[in-house]
């Protein structure tokens, strides 16, 4: 799989039901979200694009105040063992159980959004 193929699979999973895609290395079992065409841990090309349950815990967060606007940004640790940056839909604290969804933002980018469950 090259990067274009990985992104095509990511895009398909996201557009199907807003699921969070990730990559699993079949050689060393590590998981990662930010795509490379090989495993960044062991270097193997034996990797697979997977669909995450989206279930995870808040790893850290911050509420940003800017020009009268405010929003929440942070990191979630997924139950499959990898972490992603996301925006949160509501007030949360570290350790809260959340579900992560991904939606296309435009032709090129995606929004990654987590809500409490």
């Amino acid at each position: 799989m090259n990067l274009d193929e990985i992104y095509a699979k990511y895009d398909k999973i996201i557009r199907e039901d807003s699921s969070l895609p990730y990559i699993k290395c079949n050689n060393c079992n590590s998981t990662f979200f930010y795509p490379r065409h090989f495993c960044p841990k062991c270097g193997s090309n034996n990797i697979e694009v997977m669909r995450s349950s989206g279930i995870g815990k808040v790893f850290s967060w911050t509420k940003i105040y800017r020009k009268g606007d405010k929003w929440i940004y942070g990191i979630v640790e997924l139950e499959e063992g990898f972490k992603v940056y996301c925006n949160f839909t509501e007030d949360i604290k570290i350790g809260d159980k959340v579900k992560v969804k991904v939606v296309p933002k435009d032709d090129r980018y995606y929004s990654i959004i987590a809500s409490k469950i």
Partner: protein, 386 residues
């Protein structure tokens, strides 16, 4: 070896970036007693958007040499952001020791006011210049709403509080101490006394970080001249006593934890901290300083807040830190604080820190943190070789 240095800092400079650069370079050469034709090497660090509001300079060291009218034998761009300034000094020192040149000009700075005027910060430069790439994973990152680097350090501060119980008051104390040190520093733009209450009352920018815990981006340059031609310089013969650098280039979300900086690695065992007279630590935010006192080994991990309660870190105290008030009080030229802490170290070592001089400062430990989401750490100890 470090025979000259100078800085010019402005909240907003109306002219060209090249003007400030050239004026600062000539001032540094004056201190060194050298002229521009004697420059063998040009070391530079620059960030996108900080040169006359262009997203980038094509061949930046060439353009600078062109403007200055010099013909260097070699040029190098250092790519560690705010930590670059410290790295340049070491590499200039090594290059000269190796006999590859006599004199190297190290340049750090630019203009922050153009990006500041667009309402973004340099680590969120994509919001002002859509064609600048931030990471190899932009497609999955840039759809997010962040405020980097403020939001990145806010995530670290929140997790530090969660894991170790550090407090808003402890971080505020860092800002208060640094302001005390800035009171008599003529380079500082913020010099009024400050209290913990005032810091806590300042508006929250990215929870838990408040306005008075965050550096203010300004325009300006620092230039440092490293040379073996020291006869015309009145500065002490300052040498590099120890050095380390470390690079954790993964996205912080891929780190096991975000509360450690690469200073854990760059500073490890390089020098006996008991022999240090002052510490100049990168101060983009209060939390940055707290992380470094832990990571360079002044105290165990997680106790950075207590460290500031236990020790007097003013220039008069038992462990002086950021003795001129740091970039929290001078402002941060072109989104990089490395020049500010390096200049302060040299002022201390040359007994030139008027109104904030540490008595008998012979050895200074510097630590720089830089890069997108703090990927780089450079640790540097300066003093007179005995």
């Amino acid at each position: 070896m470090i025979v000259g240095f100078a800085s010019n800092l402005y909240k907003k400079y109306e002219g060209s970036t090249f003007e400030i650069l050239a004026d600062t370079l000539f001032s540094a050469l004056d201190v060194a007693g050298l002229n521009k034709d004697e420059i063998d090497g040009l070391f530079l660090t620059a960030l996108p958007g900080t040169f006359d509001s262009y997203a980038a300079l094509h061949f930046p060291t060439t353009q600078i040499a062109q403007y200055l009218g010099i013909k260097p034998k070699f040029t190098t761009v250092f790519d560690y952001g705010g930590a670059s300034a410290l790295s340049m000094i070491y590499h200039a020192y090594k290059t000269i020791k190796a006999g590859e040149g006599d004199t190297i000009a190290c340049i750090v700075g630019g203009k922050a006011s153009d990006i500041r005027g667009k309402g973004v910060t340099v680590d969120a430069i994509d919001k002002a210049y859509p064609d600048v790439s931030l990471t190899p994973f932009d497609r999955l990152f840039r759809g997010l709403n962040d405020l980097n680097p403020v939001s990145d350090y806010a995530l670290v501060a929140n997790r530090h509080m969660y894991l170790f119980g550090s407090t808003d008051e402890q971080r505020a104390l860092i800002a208060v101490r640094q302001r005390f040190n800035a009171q008599n520093n003529e380079k500082a733009i913020y010099r009024d006394p400050l209290t913990v209450e005032q810091v806590l009352k300042s508006s929250i920018v990215a929870e838990p970080l408040r306005l008075l815990e965050i550096v203010y981006p300004i325009d300006g340059f620092h230039v440092f001249i490293v040379s073996k031609r020291a006869s015309k310089s009145s500065l002490r013969p300052i040498e590099v006593l120890a050095y380390g650098e470390a690079h954790w280039t993964v996205m912080p979300a891929e780190l096991d934890d975000i509360v450690y900086t690469p200073a854990v690695q760059s500073a490890k065992g390089i020098f006996d901290l008991n022999k240090v007279d002052s510490f100049e630590l990168y101060d983009s935010f209060t939390i940055t300083v707290m992380l470094q006192v832990e990571d360079i080994g002044l105290i165990e991990k997680g106790k950075g807040g207590e460290f500031f309660e236990k020790h007097d870190t003013t220039y008069l105290g038992d462990i002086p830190i950021n003795t001129g008030g740091g970039s929290l009080n001078t402002g941060q030229p072109a989104y990089m604080s490395g020049g500010v802490i390096l200049e302060e170290a040299l002022l201390q070592l040359n007994n030139m820190a008027k109104g904030h001089q540490v008595k008998d400062a012979d050895t200074v430990f510097l630590n720089g943190i830089g890069g997108w989401n703090r990927a780089h750490s450079v640790s540097l100890v300066l003093g007179e070789a005995k």
